[in-house]
């Protein structure tokens, strides 16, 4: 018997760029490279569950080989993160090595290593972009999620960069329920340092899954955010991460499409290649840069990426009038909330996400990544969002209601 194969979608000739991007590119446009899982902080919503260094981390020589390959593939810049990338002792060497090989670097940092000398060094280097992460426009809001003292560290780094005459550095904010009301304050703070504001969407990835219910913006806040973006979109960067909001009406500027495995991917600290920085899970693991053929072979030939490079033709969303605007939203957000990948985004602004979440099987176990480098012991200045850990109730407690949550 001959199996009937589904018709393979052929890439169209001409037409809109977004339709081309659905079929993937020969090399990523937006490549994120997390250099280390080590981090001095323990942010409650860390997308990569970072904290402790992985002993299998790529060596300096291996990292240089990745850069050589990116140069050959004409990946013109990489977004470097972690963990906290600057705690890698060879970070500054790798930065220079990349720039010397036509691979520009945008790196995200909590600012811990950006003293006056480093700030001056960065200001004197072309082709490097720095973004300092903040979780709140005030120490109070920031430190609850990023840890005590982290606001002071970040603003000191911003001050050092501004004093050194650094141009075009960024303040990077993940928008949450607690800071969405501070967008104007973030803008003012950023302007004060002569920097640029970058805001991105909070996803239930890594430790973000643990606090997503508590921290993701409400539907009302989503609409406020959308209005703010329409009014201020020209002046802020978004990494095109809010495209799910485009279903509210006017499209937001940028690429309104999930780029996972198509134009975006992640190289993690041990060289594993995932479809996107928010998808550190074995289901989205395409290969490793240490494998034969290196990164290029993973990008061009992995089965997973081939699967991701076709337009979505089925599922509930394709029947929605707004499908062309949001394209079903964020793959990682659906996956880590236990929703089907061809259905609505959990934050679908038309409300289908909430319906889908409510309709989940009560028994559903949301997928968890087995990759977790979180600190196991106490961390200095631990975030307070989750409160002080309670003493677990024991079976021998006298109360017959021990362990039962009373509301």
């Amino acid at each position: 018997m001959t199996a009937v194969l589904p018709a393979k979608h052929e890439r169209p000739t001409g037409g809109r760029l977004i339709d081309q991007f659905e079929y993937g590119l020969d090399a990523p446009i937006c490549l994120t490279w997390e250099l280390t899982y080590a981090c001095n902080l323990a942010c409650v919503h860390c997308l990569s569950s970072s904290g402790r260094r992985d002993p299998r981390e790529l060596s300096t020589a291996e990292a240089e080989r990745v850069i050589d390959e990116l140069q050959r593939m004409q990946v013109f810049y990489v977004n470097v993160g972690g963990g906290e990338p600057t705690v890698r002792p060879d970070f500054w060497h790798l930065l220079d090595y990349a720039i010397g090989h036509d691979v520009g670097v945008k790196f995200s940092t909590n600012g811990v290593k950006l003293d006056k000398a480093r700030a001056a060094q960065l200001a004197a280097t072309d082709y490097v972009d720095v973004q300092i992460s903040l979780g709140g426009a005030t120490a109070e809001v920031n430190d609850r999620v990023r840890g005590a003292g982290s606001f002071a560290t970040a603003t000191r780094a911003l001050e050092n960069l501004a004093d050194a005459g650094m141009k075009d550095f960024k303040v990077s904010v993940v928008v949450t329920r607690e800071n969405v009301s501070q967008l104007d304050d973030f803008k003012a703070l950023t302007d004060r340092y002569g920097a640029q504001l970058r805001i991105t969407r909070f996803r239930p990835s890594g430790r973000g899954a643990d606090v997503w219910d508590q921290l993701h913006p409400t539907q009302t806040q989503q609409r406020e955010l959308y209005a703010w973006l329409l009014a201020n979109g020209e002046k802020v960067l978004t990494g095109d991460s809010f495209f799910h909001l485009s279903a509210l009406g006017e499209s937001l500027p940028g690429l309104n499409l999930c780029g996972a495995g198509r134009v975006v991917c992640l190289i993690d600290p041990v060289g594993d290649v995932y479809a996107c920085p928010f998808a550190i899970h074995e289901n989205f693991l395409a290969g490793n840069v240490r494998d034969e053929g290196g990164f290029q072979r993973v990008w061009r030939s992995s089965e997973l990426f081939a699967d991701l490079r076709s337009p979505q033709t089925g599922g509930a969303c394709t029947k929605c009038a707004h499908f062309d605007a949001c394209r079903g939203g964020c793959m990682a957000a659906k996956f880590f909330t236990g929703l089907p990948l061809d259905g609505p985004d959990p934050e679908c602004v038309q409300g289908y996400g909430e319906t889908a979440l409510a309709a989940r099987d009560l028994e559903v176990v949301t997928p968890r990544s087995h990759i977790d480098h979180s600190h196991t012991g106490p961390v200095r200045g631990q975030p307070t969002l989750l409160g002080i850990p309670s003493i677990p109730s024991k079976i021998c407690d006298e109360s017959p209601l021990a362990g039962v949550e009373l509301r």
Binding site: G14, L17, Q20, D26, Q74, F76, G100
Partner: protein, 101 residues
């Protein structure tokens, strides 16, 4: 790597004059055309057809944009669209005026 170009205003686009791909620009071939990256101003753009890639590459060999379009065999009906695409590329300094014809 080439030194980033000093920030400067883009020259007004005149298709009767000689142009060329900026020296700070790299073309990365893609199935639909090419990705264009300017190392100086870090702008990213896309050439949406292979014919347009051919035109941008050939600019340096012809005395004007108009002559390049003819030489590359761009159908007459499509030439206004190509001139518009090239004007956009000039605005982001992906292509720059050439001194001698």
């Amino acid at each position: 790597m080439t030194a980033p170009a000093a920030p400067q205003a883009a020259a007004p686009f005149d298709p009767a004059l000689p142009w060329q791909k900026s020296r700070s620009v790299a073309l990365r071939p893609e199935p639909f055309g090419a990705l264009v990256y300017h190392f100086g101003n870090r702008k990213l753009s896309f050439l949406k057809s292979k014919l347009l890639v051919g035109v941008v590459t050939a600019l340096a060999e012809h005395p004007s944009v108009d002559a390049t379009l003819v030489a590359c065999g761009v159908p007459e009906a499509q030439r206004p669209a190509y001139v518009k695409a090239l004007a956009d590329l000039a605005r982001s300094q992906m292509i720059t005026p050439r001194e001698s014809a």
